[in-house]
């Protein structure tokens, strides 16, 4: 399949974010945590390209450091939700019977809570740090994946090639992995890319509520939250992390569409 312009744009944005996140681990223009009250709320200039915040910290450096945290958190969260959700969904959909009922009752109970509320509760238990966020948001988003995967599996298991696999003498587990699971990739890929967006936003929301990564460590979410009082006086404080979130989401979505098509032999 030819690379479309969209796929290239998406790929470039995602590559850029990942590179910046990696670079930020070792180097940022300024120390993202260093306070300098003399420079507080400084407009962008030659030294501080994106200006400084209310404590005089360099916004660009904080954005870069924030990228590491935000990217790490969202990748781990989406990974957690997709892996756990797919396993539970495939088992429930393929095995059916009591296993299905018990898993789905538990799952639907989780789904009945608003995701962010569930995450809030989890955060209080696990503690407000990076790993807490990953676990909390992971749990909050897993039920959606379970639902989607189970639904797909239910329709796939009625296909005749699944019956053909039984006729060949393949075990249930083999049939599940060889014939059912690969055909779930498309809906899961779509879901995972949109989930990146939700997770970035939820992480921002949690940080905004003061339950995310604790200050002074920067994330895009708590930077956005911190910028709120200065939206009139220092626009760059809010615009910079906001744009980063929006662009990253765009990139992930474009790339996600490409990956989904790429994995489908009918589109290749």
């Amino acid at each position: 399949m030819k690379l479309s312009a969209n796929a290239i744009i998406g790929g470039v944005i995602v590559a850029l974010v990942v590179t910046v996140a990696l670079v930020a681990i070792f180097w940022t223009p300024f120390n993202p945590l260093a306070l300098n009250m003399r420079l507080k709320l400084g407009a962008p200039d030659a030294a501080h390209w994106l200006g400084t915040d209310e404590f005089g910290r360099d916004v660009l450096s904080r954005l870069m450091a924030g990228a590491s945290t935000s990217a790490l958190v969202s990748i781990l969260t989406v990974g957690f939700a997709v892996i756990v959700g797919t396993i539970v969904g495939v088992v429930a959909g393929f095995v059916r019977g009591w296993t299905d009922r018990i898993l789905m009752t538990f799952n639907d109970t989780l789904l009945a809570f608003p995701g962010i509320l569930l995450a809030l509760g989890m955060m209080i238990v696990v503690g407000a740090n990076k790993w807490g966020i990953v676990l909390a948001l992971g749990f909050a988003y897993t039920p959606t994946v379970v639902r989607v995967v189970r639904g797909t599996v239910l329709s796939l298991r009625e296909r005749e090639y699944v019956e053909a696999s039984r006729m060949i003498g393949n075990s249930a587990a083999y049939t599940m992995f060889r014939h059912v699971l690969p055909n779930c990739v498309a809906p899961v890929a779509v879901l995972a890319t949109s989930m990146f967006g939700w997770v970035l936003l939820s992480e921002s929301a949690l940080s905004f509520l003061g339950l995310g990564v604790p200050p002074p460590a920067p994330t895009w979410g708590n930077m956005l939250a911190g910028a709120r009082p200065y939206i009139q006086t220092a626009v760059w404080l809010g615009v910079a992390p906001g744009l980063c979130i929006a662009l990253t989401l765009l990139g992930i979505n474009l790339l996600g569409d490409y990956v989904r098509d790429r994995l489908d032999p009918r589109m290749a």
Binding site: Y161, A164, M167, N170, N183
Partner: protein, 537 residues
């Protein structure tokens, strides 16, 4: 006002002149220079294989071509008016009003979210000024004419409450209610079994005669053409091949292509050698299969439905036993129950004398290794993410005796036998329906089974492809000598391939015997009606 030219018997009602349909972007032609006439009250068949453009040619009359496909040249004169030049509002009045259309898939052509009554009256509301009560009255009358038992109830029901045949009759009723002057029927009965097919088409002919409607019947089934149409047009890849009286075309085709179509019609195979003196490979004794329906109330038990009801059947080594019957007769369930794909309520299934229902794991495994299934729908029986070669190779996973070299050899050999050697690295979506069915056959035969269940293996295919696949199946059976349970509602295909025929009705065998006996001297009334309904030439 559009002036209608004075009617004279010799001016055609519909006249297509030099029509060309092409893909708008590339200019590739789908129909080239097609001309034909249709007279009032005439029954004209358009015949061709898939891809011949017969559906496009019909849709162009309604000006309902898919996006990106356009009619770029020619004239479509309906009663003297060129439909290609008609305005959009004029076409709205034409569709449904003057031209009616019945589609192939009754299961999807009615909207599942609306009541039958609302869907039937839609056309009347648009095209007439009748009141609601009058429309309802007409609907009831029309449903009576298409032999729906309780029309009042039917109007309040939803489509899922009806079988395919009933839905097609309802569809026909709602189209004919507006008394169109032209009825376009696009493969209207391809999805139905033989008995229902007969009912629906007989009804269509009766209604059309009574209303004086001209009918354009699009089909690939020459048997239907012979029975219902007066004249036929043969299309091949968008080109006009020949036209003329149906009986002349079938008896003395003028072109090589038509001859090929006629020759593809299934013919009775060689005289049957009785096989009952051979050993039985499968013995079914007093088999019953029960399906549970949905609960009707919270504490009521789920109603049981007997799909197979105390059935005995013997299949001998190397013979082909055909199971025929209408939809719902339990023939598919029988095949799956024998293979243990659906659980039996009681009874015995003996494979070479051993009970496979009671046997231990090892004997069940041996049974699985020796039996295979070929499915009806080649679109859903192949995993879309696997290449042809991998699909055919998969059954050999369970042959620990074969080394990699022997496996490779076996796969190549099998692929060559079904003439797919060059397509081994393709994905299923890159193959045609006939090629896919050959992949399914290769997968079933790669382990050299002793017994194969073929569930409607050719009903989803065109006549010519059907002939090829049946022939291939027969050749392979002669070579490897497997026994076969051939499930089909198509009596013509059965006549070509079967040694013995078993007729099923409502989960029971009503008649069985050698093929020639059943076809020449049917005893049971149900067998007679099946044979009677089968379109023949």
């Amino acid at each position: 006002m559009i002036m209608t030219p004075p009617y004279t018997p010799d001016t055609p009602f519909l006249s297509i002149r030099n029509m060309r349909i092409e893909v708008a972007r590339s200019g590739a032609p789908l129909i080239e220079d097609l001309s034909y006439d249709l007279h009032r009250g005439e029954f004209l068949a358009v015949v061709g294989e898939s891809g011949s453009g017969k559906t496009m040619a019909a849709r162009a009359i309604m000006r309902l071509l898919p996006a990106g496909i356009a009619c770029t040249r020619g004239e479509i004169l309906l009663d003297g008016e060129d439909l290609l030049k008609a305005s959009a509002p004029r076409m709205h009045a034409m569709r449904g009003g003057k031209i009616g259309m019945v589609f192939q898939e009754p299961m999807v052509s009615l909207n599942p979210a609306h009541r039958i009554g609302d869907q039937m009256s839609e056309g009347m509301r648009i095209h007439t000024k009748l009141t609601k009560a009058e429309i309802r009255q007409r609907c009831v009358e029309m449903l009576k004419r298409v032999q729906i038992r309780d029309p009042e109830h039917c109007l309040n029901a939803y489509p899922h409450e009806f079988s395919g045949g009933m839905r097609q009759r309802i569809m026909l009723a709602s189209v004919m209610m507006l008394r169109p002057k032209l009825l376009i029927a696009d493969e209207p009965t391809t999805a139905l079994d033989t008995l229902t097919q007969r009912e629906v088409l007989d009804l269509m002919v009766t209604l059309a005669r009574e209303e004086g409607t001209a009918v354009l019947l699009i089909t690939h089934n020459l048997g239907l053409v012979a029975r219902y149409a007066q004249r036929a047009i043969v299309l091949e890849k968008g080109r006009f091949v020949e036209t003329g009286d149906v009986h002349r075309i079938l008896r003395a085709p003028q072109t090589a292509y038509t001859r090929q179509l006629v020759e593809a019609l299934p013919k009775r195979g060689d005289a049957v050698v009785p096989t009952s003196n051979r050993n039985a490979i499968i013995q079914v004794r007093d088999l019953a299969v029960t399906y549970r329906g949905n609960r009707t109330g919270l504490f009521k038990p789920r109603p049981a439905y007997q799909a197979i009801d105390g059935l005995d059947l013997d299949i001998h080594e190397g013979e082909t036993v055909a199971v025929v019957g209408g939809s719902g007769s339990g023939k598919t369930t029988l095949g799956r129950a024998i293979l243990r794909l659906v659980p039996a309520a009681h009874g015995k299934i003996l494979y070479r004398g051993r009970d496979v229902l009671a046997g231990d794991r090892a004997s069940l495994h041996a049974f699985r290794m020796a039996c295979q299934l070929v499915f009806q729908d080649p679109h859903s029986s192949l995993n879309p993410r696997m290449r042809v070669r991998d699909i055919v190779a998969e059954p050999l996973r369970h042959c620990p005796m074969m080394n990699a070299q022997a496996r490779r050899q076996r796969i190549d050999e099998t692929l060559d036998e079904v003439s797919l050697g060059t397509l081994a690295s393709r994905f299923p979506h890159e193959l045609s329906g006939g090629q896919r069915q050959r992949v399914a056959i290769a997968r079933a035969l790669v382990r050299r089974p002793a017994f194969v269940v073929a569930d409607e293996p050719v009903s989803a295919l065109d006549m010519t492809i059907q002939a090829q696949v049946l022939k291939l199946f027969q050749t392979l059976q002669q070579r490897y000598g497997f026994a076969c349970l051939f499930i089909s509602h198509d009596l013509a295909a059965v006549e070509q391939i079967a040694d013995r025929v078993v007729v099923m009705e409502q989960g029971k065998i009503v008649e069985q015997g050698l093929r020639d006996e059943i076809y020449d001297r049917p005893q049971h009334a149900y067998t007679k009606s099946l044979l009677e309904a089968a379109p023949q030439i």
